[in-house]
Amino acid sequence: MKKEQHNPSRRHFLVNASLAGTAGIIGAAALLEGCSKKKKVEYPFPPLLDKAPDGKPLKAAVIGCGGRGTGAAINFLNAGNDLSIVACADMFQDRIDKFRAQLKEEKKVEIPDDKCFIGFDAYKKVLELDIDLVILATPPYFRAEHFRAAVEAKKHVFTEKPVAVDPVGARAFLAAAKKAETLGLTVVTGTQRRHQRNYIETFRKVAEGTIGDLVGGNCYWNQSKLWHVNPKKEWSEMECMLRDWVNWCWLSGDHIVEQHIHNIDVINWFLGKYPVSAVAFGSRQRRVTGDQYDNFSVDFVYEGNIHIHSMCRQINDCTNNVSEYLRGTEGYTNCEDTIWKPDGTVLWQFEYPKNEKGEVVRELKVNPYDQEHIDLVTAIRTNKPFNEAENTVKSNIAAIMGRMSAYTGKEVTWDEVMQSELKIGPAEMVLGKVNYPVVIPVPGSAPEV
């Protein structure tokens, strides 16, 4: 089992409920027939090496040079040997300058002036270069368009989450994900829990049936206020919004999509399905800029009448919690590293590695952000494409469904989202006045007085 997990060629792993991890695939197949309570889960695990193997030098470009773009570039350079960042694109010169300075300081990587591009169509210029992959880290509004162009240009992709802010964008991303699949491209998506050994081992246990059938659960991303950027007089309206993107729904998808997607994705991953409907509420209590809510509460319903309560909040001085919880007929789990029996005693716990001092700390040997890029580079160099784009965009669609329900007060179904013509954001992209109404949604109607 362990060996299999380390072997990148055996990424498709079959789990049999009755076997509880005692046999390999051949044994599992043989035993399937004699077992009445059988369960087969096929899931493509990432290769999970500690370092990417050597191979063809890979050249990457970064589209979106903010904090996460810079972070992702460094994670990529950490992943193995012969990896380089050769170009970048952003909307603002100061962002590019900061990005280049940090790359130079931390990784001794220099990007020439003529490989730095600015503007809404800078991504097109980047994609014309001789590169192997792109790192997409702009505000999510632009992601579907960039991803689609990257796939059409046959580039491997690391894309940050979320991948879309509305149903139209999500479907564009989904179609591009399917194109990437048929082209054999590798796509890793910034939902790093799926690259964490502790989560993966817990998933394996749950898939084997350790806690029986899953019957319900919760997921949370309740944290303090996130950052905001106050508008400046010398900035155009568009520039103010772009620099403050994490507070604008059309740019970020709102925080249920932008941030809470991680937890919703874990739940979908463990359940092996996506919610069929959602009823949600939320509101805006203390946000400073933008048009977003700062709290959501969603009742997601899955096939088999499984209910998952999702909640997320970005307000200071409240009880915080970022985690998942799944209940099964024979126990429960935090999805991260522990499984409990129904009576609360620990049934299984992930074994974290020991640090230099020989102590067990709750930390993985390779940080998950580097791990994603190790998996990306490994998949490319071993020519075993790994593509998690479809999983991620579907979790993204679930998050959008929750948001749509909270904004309208109405139940929203998966099929409705899949056929929705909702497309948010201004019609015209120019660094100037933004012709887009700022409306904070209020669900339902006021009583007649």
């Binding site: 046959k154 179609a175 194109k179």
Partner: protein, 498 residues
């Protein structure tokens, strides 16, 4: 004795069986091959045009030099059901070759998406076109294929890709920007609309065009709306019967023709993609170019205009009112039924029992439906040849209206509700709100049961926009409805009071 012994030898029997099996197998295989060639298919000469249109299609005439053969689409892919389907379709072909009158086969009807679905195999499409998301696929294509992936039992490949196997002049499944642009020779362009001072039938002229059409007087009166409980094929939504008073008005003698509708389209049409927010300078924005061919390749001219949305028909009335200075609008459902009945109270405005005319019912197992009488008044499933008809040659109803029943179903201004208010009413206009609009009269696709004066139907907005892959979907054209048009009415006095 020896022979008997010989044949009793198990090895001999086994050998004979093997040889027999091989003969059957290879013979069968050979027979299958021979009867699966394009030449064999074409050898019956039943449908020579099918061979011609195939050779003009992208399945034959393409840059890659790939030829897709008859059996590649008209039989399932190789595998178990192949032989079964081959035998089935073969028997059907033999039967129709021997028994049917080849001259009478309605090939027009076989060109519809419904017929194409019957005669091709989805699995065969997919067997070759396994990659639904190739590089270079347009956004519209992506949308359509995503929808298809999730709704394979609801929509088929040929619904959008109808002409890939058999070429058809003008057939298109794309943004049809050239629609209606064909230059017409201008003989006489009307500069003035008709002047109407009294309640007399008149011929309207559309200023700035060569188009004119007849409006006939519908005298005011009282009638009983709905059908009695014992009317054959009556549906519950045709009641309760109630008395309705109608004021006098004018009604188009015919359904709005392509000539009329295209006058509107060319004078107002936008070039972009219509959205609800779009506002034209003069307050009336016209249709944007359609997706596909609204006329279905049946020709335009005096044929009724079809596939426009209810909103588009409304916009047409507004525009017509503006250019003629009269008050044109869609009829209310009550006006429509009053006009269709023309003072009669039976199932039709002519003689006859729906049971005798319909294809449904136990009698049909014994005798064919009677088409003689109804066929003189109505274009419906039994005489339409699967498409709309030009209006000439049909007899009018007592008010002088042609094609009230059949040809194309007609939009009314009312919201649909599955039940009428029971109370006596004066010029009722239907429920205050709803989700779908009333359509009336049945169409060229209808059975005689559904072209009764009282028969009701309603729009299916979602279903009728299924193969429109645009975002947002068009507000002007239905992509999947080809049996609905409309007829205008004009208030009397004609001049707008405002």
């Amino acid at each position: 004795m020896f022979l008997k012994k010989f044949f009793h030898h198990p090895g001999i029997l086994l050998g004979a069986g093997l040889i027999g099996g091989m003969v059957l197998f290879y013979g069968g295989k050979k027979a299958t091959e021979v009867t699966s060639t394009d030449a064999f298919c074409a050898s019956c000469h039943v449908h020579p045009h099918a061979t011609d249109s195939w050779k003009q299609s992208t399945h034959y005439d393409n840059q890659r030099g790939i030829v897709v053969h008859c059996v590649d689409c008209h039989l399932p892919p190789h595998g178990f059901p192949y032989l079964r389907e081959k035998v089935k379709t073969g028997m059907r072909d033999v039967w129709s070759t021997l028994v049917k009158d080849q001259e009478k086969i309605n090939w027009e009807e076989k060109k519809t998406p419904e017929a194409a679905e019957r005669h091709t195999y989805q699995a065969s499409c997919i067997a070759c076109h396994s990659n639904l998301f190739p590089r270079g696929l347009s956004r519209e294509g992506e949308e359509a294929h995503l929808y298809f992936s999730d709704h394979q039992n609801e929509i088929s490949c040929v619904r959008c890709h109808l002409q890939v196997g058999h070429y058809r002049e003008g057939a298109i499944h794309a943004h049809n920007v050239d629609f209606g642009k064909q230059a017409t020779v201008t003989v006489q362009v009307f500069t003035e609309p008709a002047k109407v001072d009294s309640f007399v039938s008149f011929t309207e002229r559309i200023p700035g065009s060569t188009v004119q059409f007849d409006m006939v007087t519908i005298p005011g009166g009282t009638f009983v709306m709905g059908s009695p409980a014992d009317e054959p094929f009556r549906k519950p939504d045709e009641g309760p019967r109630h008395t309705v008073h109608i004021r006098p008005f004018f009604m188009g003698k015919l359904e709005v023709s392509w000539d009329e509708y295209l006058a509107f389209f060319t004078q107002t049409g936008g070039t972009g993609h219509g959205t609800q927010q779009e506002k034209a300078v003069d307050g009336i924005s016209g249709p944007t170019p359609p997706w596909g061919d609204p006329a279905q390749g049946w020709g335009r001219g005096t044929r009724p205009a079809i596939t426009m949305t209810w909103q588009a028909a409304e916009a047409y009335c507004k525009w017509l009112s503006k250019v003629t200075g009269k008050h044109y609008r869609l009829p209310t459902e009550a006006e429509w039924e009053y006009a269709a009945r023309g003072g009669t109270q039976g199932p039709y405005f002519f003689e006859g029992n729906p049971k005798k005319y319909s294809r449904h019912g136990w009698m049909r197992k014994i005798v064919a439906p009677d088409t003689a009488v109804i066929g003189r008044y109505v274009i419906y499933g039994m005489n339409s040849g699967g498409k709309t008809a030009e209006p000439s040659g049909l007899l009018p109803n007592p008010f002088g209206l042609v094609n009230m029943l059949g040809n194309v179903a007609e939009f009314c201004s009312d919201w649909y509700a599955p039940e009428y208010p029971a109370a006596e009413a004066e010029n009722p206009a239907g429920p205050a709100e709803g989700t779908e609009k009333v359509i009336r009269g049945g169409s060229f696709m209808s059975d005689a049961a559904d072209v009764r004066c009282a028969a009701r139907d309603y729009t299916r907005t979602t279903d009728w926009l299924k193969t429109d892959p645009q975002i947002p979907k068009s507000i002007w054209w239905y992509s999947d409805c080809r049996h609905v048009g409309f007829r205008v009415v004009c208030d009397y006095p004609v001049h707008k009071t405002k």
